[in-house]
């Protein structure tokens, strides 16, 4: 790959929406009353996230995250919490699967409107070493919801 192509991919990766979520993360903090709390680490880099969920039926009533990490993991967590709040388990599952497909480079996923702002993360697929960063929060959410499902 040529240097300008790689530079363009970097620019697409660190677009303004990602940096905005990194600088001003949404739903960062802790819940007063959480039904599930999942701590997840990326052993590759030592980044960690704690995700707290208050269930509503089988879905997510409220959600917060805390921890530290790179722009990709923090922005992904921030956008995820915005998108899943108030949604049922089935819909969240479907979004999560679609997001994973996008991370694997599925071109169909990139234009899927149900991913909403998460599509800003589509550039991560070009950086295989960073896909784990984007998936960290989603893996934590999956574990939290599995606790709910029993």
């Amino acid at each position: 790959m040529s240097q300008p192509e790689r530079s363009a991919e970097i620019a697409a990766l660190y677009q303004e929406m990602i940096l905005d979520h990194y600088r001003r993360p949404r739903n960062k903090g802790t819940l007063e009353r959480a039904d599930a709390a999942v701590e997840m680490k990326n052993p590759l880099c030592g980044d960690e996230i704690t995700l707290q969920v208050a269930f509503d039926g089988d879905g997510v009533g409220d959600v917060r995250f805390s921890g530290r990490g790179c722009a990709i993991s923090q922005a992904s967590a921030s956008m995820m919490t915005q998108l899943v709040k108030g949604k049922g388990a089935e819909e969240i599952d479907s979004i999560r699967n679609r997001f994973r497909e996008m991370m694997l480079g599925d071109p169909g996923a990139v234009t899927d409107e149900k991913l909403g702002s998460l599509r800003a993360l589509s550039g991560v697929a070009r950086f295989p070493a960073r896909v784990k960063c984007a998936l960290l929060a989603w893996n934590a959410l999956e574990t939290a919801l599995a606790e709910r499902g029993g």
Binding site: Q3, R6, S7, E9, I10, A11, L13, Y14, L19, L44, C45, G46, D47, E48, R68, G69, C70, A71, I72, F127, A129, R130, C133
Partner: protein
């Protein structure tokens, strides 16, 4: 030094700035040629055949051992055991010497500077034997706290394991002081992780005075998958085998087996002769440059990198002053996570490491999850530092850094 042309990967990628030699080094043409030549002219199973090709393979394997032993100041080449690398060497000591000599209530001393390879084997041995693992803490600037080490030592101390140079911070540890402290205060053996010292400055096992020294060939211009453990003959002869199988036996009876002599006792199975020949060529190449010149070159690279990175607003460098570091500069940038920095630098053709550097206990003590790490070797020059600085500036621009 103008050596870049000797390294095909670098020569073929003129815009690549490889600053991750602490993870693995690039390989010069002479090393690649030596490995290929072994397979094209001498390939047979060493120590097996009565035919001349096997004898030739055996001789080349032996010559490589002699060559590498001399490079590391080992008079008796039988005391150099070939392994897959530092990790296997340290597991060999913990698994063989450790299992045979550590008992309940004994104490094992390691340091907070260790790579996981010189941490986890001792931790697991301590758990298995109900021994006590004690960890030497650091001074504020990332050096071993020798006062604390002195307090940890005593009659129960059986082994003290430490690295010669920290892979995460570049700290050069004062081996002679440590060895003296250990022998003055205990009967413990000393195990030195030399993964980051053997490639970068002259090392003589005999002058170090440690019981064991472990190193990796791939960090010193040799191929991946071959390194070594050096020990004193007395220690190695007393130790039980680490793995059993072919080549390491003398006589196998139905109910018992006797062991081969050194070094074969610790080299079960078909040896990695081709890569040993490759590493032999690597140390010959390094000797051709002269390890004193390698050291000089790295010192000047470090001084320049230190000066230029320290001038960047918001950049923090970890570890002791550059004169007490070898080949490594570990840093963070305010507001830009090391992983993001590494990705952006990659976009500029600059390869650095970002993460915990296999030293999670150290990172916890520094209270950081990760650092960015640039490391230097014989083929780097000022242009690599130019590219590193330009890449850091680019990252600041992307992240919209505003000086405080």
């Amino acid at each position: 030094m103008k050596l870049r042309a000797d390294f095909p990967l670098l020569a073929n990628n003129p815009r690549l700035h490889y600053l991750d030699s602490a993870a693995t080094s690039q390989k010069p043409q002479v090393v690649l040629d030596a490995i290929r030549d072994f397979y094209e002219t001498s390939n047979a199973n060493p120590h097996r055949g009565a035919y001349s090709l096997s004898v030739q393979a055996t001789e080349r394997y032996h010559e490589a051992r002699v060559r590498i032993a001399r490079f590391l100041g080992v008079r008796d080449p039988d005391c150099l055991i070939f392994t897959r690398g530092t990790t296997e060497s340290l597991n060999l000591v913990a698994g063989s010497w450790g299992r045979a000599n550590i008992a309940r209530g004994d104490e094992i001393v390691i340091t907070a500077l260790e790579h996981h390879a010189n941490f986890v084997p001792w931790q697991q041995l301590a758990l298995e034997k109900h021994a006590k693992l004690r960890i030497c803490e650091l001074t504020e600037d990332g050096r071993l706290d020798l006062d604390h080490l002195g307090e940890l030592l005593g009659p129960k101390t059986k082994v003290v394991a430490f690295n010669h140079v920290s892979n995460a911070l570049g700290t050069i540890n004062p081996v002679d002081e440590i060895v003296k402290l250990v022998s003055d205060n205990s009967d413990a053996i000393t195990v030195c992780d030399g993964a980051q010292s053997a490639p970068h400055f002259p090392v003589s096992f005999e002058s170090l005075g440690v019981s064991f020294y472990a190193f990796s060939g791939h960090k010193m211009l040799g191929p991946m998958g071959l390194g070594g453990l050096i020990g004193t003959r007395e220690m190695l002869e007393q130790m039980p085998p680490y793995q059993t199988g072919g080549d390491m036996i003398e006589f196998v009876h139905d109910d018992r087996t006797t062991w081969n002599v050194l070094p074969h006792k610790f080299e079960a199975g078909t040896p990695n002769a081709a890569d040993a020949v490759g590493l032999g060529a690597a140390v010959e190449y390094l000797d051709g440059i002269g390890m004193a010149r390698v050291l000089d070159h790295e010192r000047s690279m470090m001084a320049s990198a230190q000066r230029r990175l320290a001038a960047i607003d918001g950049l923090q460098i970890y570890g002791p002053p550059p004169a007490q570091r070898s080949g490594v500069i570990s840093f963070t940038m305010s507001d830009v996570h090391p992983h993001d920095l590494a990705t952006i630098l990659d976009g500029e053709g600059v390869c650095i490491r970002a993460g915990h550097h296999c030293a999670q206990p150290l990172m916890r003590r520094l209270n950081i999850a990760a650092t960015a790490r640039a490391s230097f070797y014989v083929y780097n020059d000022e242009r690599d530092i130019d590219a590193l600085v330009a890449g850091i500036m680019k990252a600041r621009e992307i992240f919209g850094y505003v000086p405080a």
